[in-house]
Amino acid sequence: MRSADKWRFALNALLHNRLRTGLCLLGISIGVTAVVLLTGLGEGARRYVGAQFQSLGTNLVFIFPGHADTEGAMPGLGGAPNDLSLQDARALQREVRQLKTVVPISLGSETVANRERSKQVYVLGTTPQFIEARGLRLSSGVNLPELDWERGQPVIVLGGELARELFPGGEVAVGNTVRVGDRRVRVIGVMEDRGTQVGLDTGLMGLIPVASAMSMYNESGLFRILVEIGAQTDTDRTVARMREVLMERHGEEDFTCKTQESVAGSLSTIMRVLTLALAGIASVSLAVAGIGIMNVMLVSVSERRSEVGLLRALGAGHAQVRGIFLAEAALISAAGGVIGLAIAIVASLVLRSFYPAFDATPPWWSVLAALGVSTGVGLLFGVMPANKASRLDPVVALRS
């Protein structure tokens, strides 16, 4: 029997029992859809988080006050006896030449009000470079003024959503005065909405000069220093150099440097593990589908005893009979895999048309794995029925 004949034979057997073939296909395609769709969602979430970090700008280093030897402790929570000061930021700018920009940040949560409309938001004290370093843009007005860092000015740049909430109905925000806490400041600019960037809603925040914020919050230290490193420089060496400069000034390592890559990298690893765990749980259904296929094949082997007997009587060997039934199992599971894959891809496209920002396209490795695993499941669970068929005694089989 030629190979093509074997496949045609298997195909005919499947087409003959359309309903049970259909149900087997359904089982395996449900499993494949689940696995592919879940990996797509997981990978999509991972890429989304990655893109969020990218949108912060590249090559960023965050410096927090405080340093913990304890694993898992979060730096930047609460206070620290030695502040990171404006002078520290200034020293970094002066002494580490590879730095593109150094942005001091003082953070506080504050009520911003326009007459009776008010909103509690994060108000950041920073410099004009913040907007560029975080990849933000202004939609109207101007950026914070280039001031001496130690000098304040009663001005604010509002996030887009905050501006709309305080000045509804198309009222122009720029040029008006709002209250921040107890102080009155003039709105000089409004930012474009860029959504939530790693936990900070850029639409709902305000930017004021760093000295104004520090005097308002009565803080002598910065919340953190944001550093942008030139694209061509070695991040590790530059971070080491920054550490040296700060160590020299503080006499001890009472601060923490985190590169954007290290934060993004560990998040990405966590997300990938979660994705694989979910896909693993879903792939249990592939095993169940395989059992279903085995069951149906076992039935069909006993139904087709006389047919098998005839084949054997006509000179087909054990291996050929086994091949036919394995081909049948492989066909059904591969077809189920393709159908499942198609459903998953369509579903991810539909999802994408609703949420364009979230790309849930299944990664290539999950597509290959799904097809491979589904076909493998078919072959694995096809072995037992195929062996059963090949072991039939032609005389007994024909007689029945």
């Binding site: 049970r20 149900l23 087997c24 089982g27 449900i30 499993g31 689940a34 879940l38 006050p65 405080g66 340093h67 913990a68 030897d69 304890t70 694993e71 898992g72 402790a73 730096p75 930047g76 929570l77 609460g78 206070g79 620290a80 006896p81 030695n82 502040d83 953070l107 506080g108 949560s109 504050e110 009520t111 909103k119 509690q120 938001v121 994060y122 806490g181 107890d182 936990g199 809603d201 709902l204 308002m216 919050y217 009565n218 803080e219 919340f223 001890e252 009472d254 979910l278 749980i281 879903a282 249990v284 259904s285 169940v288 589908a289 059992i291 279903g292 085995m294 069951n295 149906v296 039935v299």
Partner: protein, 399 residues
Amino acid sequence: MGNLFSLALGAILGHRQRSLLSMLGIAIGIAAVVLLTSMGEGTRRFISAEFSQFGTHIIAINPGKAETFGIPGMMGGTTQKLTIDDALALRRVQGVERIVPLVFGQGRVEGGGRARSIMIFGVTSDMPDLWKFDLGVGLFIPEGDWKRESQVCVLGARVSRELFVDGNPLGNFVRVADRRLRVIGVMAARGNIFGQDIDDVAYVPTATAMQLFNREELGEIDIEYSESVITARVVADIKAILTERHGGREDYTLNTQQEMLSVMGSVMDVVTMAVGAIGGISLLVGAVGILTMMWISVGERTGEIGLMKALGATSSKILKVFMAEAIVLGLLGGVAGVLLGLSCVVVIRAIVPDLPLGTPPEFVVAAFLISVVTGVLAGILPARRAANLDPIEALRADG
């Protein structure tokens, strides 16, 4: 009725292999659901135990009003400050038993010729009672005026071990920033809470911490109230006092332990449901398997059905026979699945004792119900096919 099920059981036993495989499909699905929901439930219990070890009648107040996300005051500053005077004012709320004004931050503690960067908590004398922490040796921060500094500190078990490797830390001095603090006590070891090593911290009086971190405001006020008063009442009283003190503005955020617990609980419930549902996909596939096999077996038993009908069995009787078969298949699969899932739980518990697992009895009951429902759903189509067979055609087909 008994007759019906013995008939179904007979049909199932008649095709042992295929029945076994059909049940196996359901069993795997049920086992997956049982195991996954056990993990979810275990995690939920773990979290609520972590929370409630502090006691359930606790209120935490943070500066700043949360409107969007997170706890204000944890990150960065605010002009809306909570002060020691605020904390003192709350003493007159009825039912309040303990108040701890809190300041926290990171700092380097030097002592015994070594140094360690850790979390430093500024607290008052009631902290161990309020947080249910035990003192190991020595004394805790003594009662006294909350606004008065005193140069003492109490170390967590791990810090004490790391700094004073082979010696008694009591009576020795540690240096934090520019201050020398006398070690008056060491806390009993407690281990991790939410991944944070609670033994790797040091406690100093609140006023001292405020000086250390150069702050005039508190990071948090923790309040424990009597179990005999109503939570809502205490919350309302606290809000009235604080809002009045803050010029009519509610510029602080108040969280009760009970609220936190229920929020955590409902988040975990959603996660458990989602993971359970993903495991349930296997159950769906198992149902498709039962459907297929039942369909095949109706086809095979066309002659038998024809005979039963010719002998006077009504369509509804035939329907019941096949439905019973599907239900028994589902139920047996369910039993096997629950056993499989529970033994996985036992095995995992033996291998990884730290992994929290919990299987409430109602989950087991639910799993049985789901398996029966699966059987019913999978049986409907084949059973109707059998019931609608024409006896004459059916008998002839078998001829």
